[in-house]
């Protein structure tokens, strides 16, 4: 397992084989370290605030990522500006490393829409709820990058790679095996980033696999490595190395970030029913944020910085609350818009009917010109 920071935040390169990763840490500046800490603290604060909002009935559900900040912020910052990210549904930390508006995630779990952000804008694709489905989209996208010849040109402006995120539970899904196979046989520039948080709702990782997950790709021809998922620096370095390699035409790689889901699967879950408090305490002692704070303090970062981060978190939490309370209800039209890209008579018929029905009740104000013409088809 690649680890640079132990649980006390002490930096060490444990073996010679890890030197290929350590060089990426040496390239980092102090400002990068501070950014990593800020983002981890920011997403933790956001996450706790979102849980609170759910408890107050402002969201139907929340999916906490507490404990996985090191894996997410470290790997997220290793993804280059040309690269595309295909997340699962717990990647709030990865999202902020690429400037995704956190309110779009709140909106989704509040039930305002199904996601709806523009995946092309930040190259951060929509959350995927069916486990593993997104890994095949990532494989197809990466095949497309290959077809366009945007790999191994040697020009960093042109070369691209793709990264897809999933959890230990998802590895049992057939789609991930098929994605590993597709990526391997087409030499796709795709990194598989598995956050092994050790629990799939109530099922321990032993339910999902008999071999260590970093070895899951071997039979498909995808090599892998395990990294300490609670060590933000190791996660950064390992992801950076294999994204660079993918961009340079070396093909797919599987990274298993060993971490722990400190919180519940979702706000509907009760982990006290299936796991020991001792296990949780063990992993809380290995918290990625506390560990990195110790490291930063050992590097001479003073209390002012941590105070500033704390204040920024308070401000973020206040903003998230205010913005959530002010979110408008979605329009009736959203039910029917974008079911298809091109006109579809059945959708228009049903839209017109609902508009008319709501109007008859004096409810929704229809936004059309009042024509409500029903077309039985043959429009194209």
């Amino acid at each position: 397992m690649v680890q640079f920071l132990n649980e006390n935040g002490e930096f060490a390169v444990a073996s010679k084989e890890h030197e290929i990763y350590a060089q990426f840490i040496r390239d980092l500046r102090e400002s990068d370290f501070l950014k990593f800490y800020r983002d981890m603290a920011r997403i933790r604060r956001f996450d706790n605030e979102a849980t609170a909002l759910q408890r107050q009935g402002q969201m139907g559900l929340w999916v906490p990522a507490v404990g996985q900040e090191g894996a997410q912020i470290g790997s997220g910052h290793a993804v280059g500006p040309n690269d595309n990210i295909f997340p699962s549904y717990r990647e709030h930390g990865v999202a902020i490393t690429h400037g995704v508006d956190l309110m779009s995630i709140i909106k989704m779990f509040r039930g305002v829409n199904h996601g709806g952000w523009n995946p092309y804008e930040k190259k951060f694709h929509l959350y995927a709820i069916v486990l593993g489905a997104q890994t095949l989209h990532a494989a197809g996208y990466a095949m497309g990058v290959n077809f366009e010849g945007k790999v191994a040109t040697g020009n960093p402006e042109i070369d691209e790679a793709v990264i897809t995120y999933f959890g230990d539970g998802a590895t049992a899904e057939g789609d991930i095996s098929e994605a590993l196979l597709m990526a391997a046989t087409t030499n796709a520039p795709l990194v598989f980033f598995c956050q092994n948080n050790q629990w799939a709702i109530s099922s321990a990782v032993e339910t999902q696999t008999k071999v260590p997950l970093y070895r899951r790709g071997e039979g498909f021809g995808v090599p892998g490595i395990r990294v300490d998922g609670n060590d933000v620096l190791a996660c950064y370095a390992v992801t950076k190395k294999h994204m660079d390699d993918a961009r340079n035409g070396l093909g797919p790689y599987l990274i298993e970030a060993l971490t722990y889901r400190i919180g519940a699967h979702t706000t509907s879950d009760d982990p006290s029913k299936y796991r020991d408090a001792e296990q949780v305490a063990y992993w809380q002692a290995r918290d990625p944020i506390i560990r990195f704070e110790k490291f930063l303090r050992s590097q001479g970062i003073g209390q002012d910085f941590f105070d500033e981060v704390q204040a920024a978190g308070d401000q973020l939490a206040a903003e998230i609350r205010e913005t959530t309370f002010a979110l408008p209800e979605p329009e009736l039209e959203l039910i029917f818009d974008h079911v298809y890209s091109e006109p579809h008579p059945l959708i228009e018929e049903q839209r017109a009917w609902l508009r008319g029905f709501e109007e008859s009740l004096g409810g929704h104000t229809p936004t059309d010109d009042g024509e409500n013409k029903v077309d039985y088809g043959g429009s194209r």
């Binding site: 829409n113 199904h114 996601g115 709806g116 952000w117 523009n118 995946p119 092309y120 694709h125 929509l126 995927a128 069916v130 489905a133 890994t135 095949l136 989209h137 990532a138 494989a139 197809g140 996208y141 990466a142 095949m143 497309g144 990058v145 077809f147 366009e148 057939g174 789609d175 098929e178 994605a179 196979l181 597709m182 046989t185 959203l334 818009d337 974008h338 079911v339 298809y340 890209s341 091109e342 579809h344 008579p345 059945l346 959708i347 077309d375 039985y376 088809g377 043959g378 429009s379 194209r380």
Partner: protein
């Protein structure tokens, strides 16, 4: 003078795909055995030589991956024509089709377009083993976000495959495999119809038979038999199963007052169920008889030696004609 050529449905599909690949360099073709072999029905024969292995390639035997990667390629701006080798092999891809492909445009509020064509040879009548003769259209027609079409003749095969590839939405393209070798004239200059239009193939005054895909030929046969018996049948090729062009059916039923809907699939919760319900709603005062559905039975597709008993033929259509004429 019209620029026409005689082709089989198989050759017309091949010509249509070739034309689409020539017209748009973003069109890719993949699936099991589609490259050198040209697919088990040879629909993509010769395309590898013309377009090379970056445009047409074999997929591993992994249907979910075939559709899942088509989705990723669509996100990247490609237009994939993905072949599923046989109807009964599409189900491993069911999640990618109904929960991903069909819903991503909606999920992304229109940011993602999904121009993916899933070609599926479907239906029975070829004496095949299990899983090679099924009619899965109702599953896909029931799924919002998908378009579902089925050509019945070479001209439609040639044009509808091109229109499907040009569509910004995902299209499940069902090819009537037992009719692949049926020949007909193909008009090469322009299509007569849009992808989602139904059409009257034979005008008549007493009964309307609406069908699609492999059952269209059977419906035309029944119309001929009926004519000899003095019953005038109007035959409609529905062509598009989602959306359905109800306007053409409504106009016909207003004239004939009697409707039979025919397909190979079992009739329970089927395309014909939907048409029967809709026509009862739209043509209530015009109907002289209840809408009759003629289809296969609601059983697993039987072993090959029994398929003649399973598949509706002209006689079964005539039995339905007798029933609607008795009202």
């Amino acid at each position: 003078m019209a620029n026409t050529v005689e082709l089989s449905i198989a050759k017309a599909l091949n010509a249509g795909i070739r034309k689409a690949m020539q017209d748009d360099p973003k069109v890719l073709v993949f699936g099991e055995d589609v490259a050198k072999l040209g697919g088990v029905f040879r629909i993509t024969e010769g395309l590898l030589d013309e377009f090379g292995s970056k445009r047409i390639f074999n997929s591993p035997i992994a249907e979910s991956a075939i559709v899942g990667t088509a989705i990723g390629l669509a996100m990247r701006g490609f237009r994939s024509v993905a072949e599923i080798q046989f109807d009964g092999f599409v189900y491993p891809a069911f999640d990618q089709i109904v929960s991903q492909l069909a819903k991503l445009t909606n999920r992304s509020e229109g940011h993602l377009k999904m121009p993916v064509v899933i070609r599926i040879p479907y239906g029975g009548g070829i004496g095949a083993v299990e899983h090679h003769s099924e009619s899965p259209e109702a599953y896909f027609a029931h799924t919002a976000g998908l378009r579902v079409v089925s050509p019945s003749n070479p001209n439609d095969a040639y044009w509808m495959i091109q229109q499907a590839i040009q569509s910004a939405d995902p299209v499940v393209f069902l090819e009537p495999k037992r009719r692949y070798w049926q020949k007909g004239q193909v008009e090469l200059d322009q299509p007569a119809l849009g992808l989602h239009q139904a059409t009257v193939l034979k005008p008549g005054t007493d009964v309307t038979i609406a069908s699609y895909g492999p059952m269209v030929v059977t419906s035309l046969q029944a119309a001929e038999i009926a004519q000899a018996e003095g019953v005038s049948i109007e035959v409609i090729d529905i062509r598009s199963l989602s959306p359905i062009d109800f306007g053409v059916i409504v106009e016909s039923v207003k004239k004939t007052g009697r409707l039979i809907v025919a397909h190979e699939a079992g009739t329970f919760v089927s395309i014909s169920s939907e048409i029967a319900a809709k026509i009862a709603e739209l043509c209530f005062y015009y109907l002289e008889a209840p809408v009759i559905r003629v289809g296969g039975f609601d059983v697993p597709y039987p072993a090959a030696k029994l398929e003649e008993l399973y598949l509706p033929d002209a006689d079964r259509l005539m039995e339905a004609v007798d029933r609607v004429m008795a009202y």
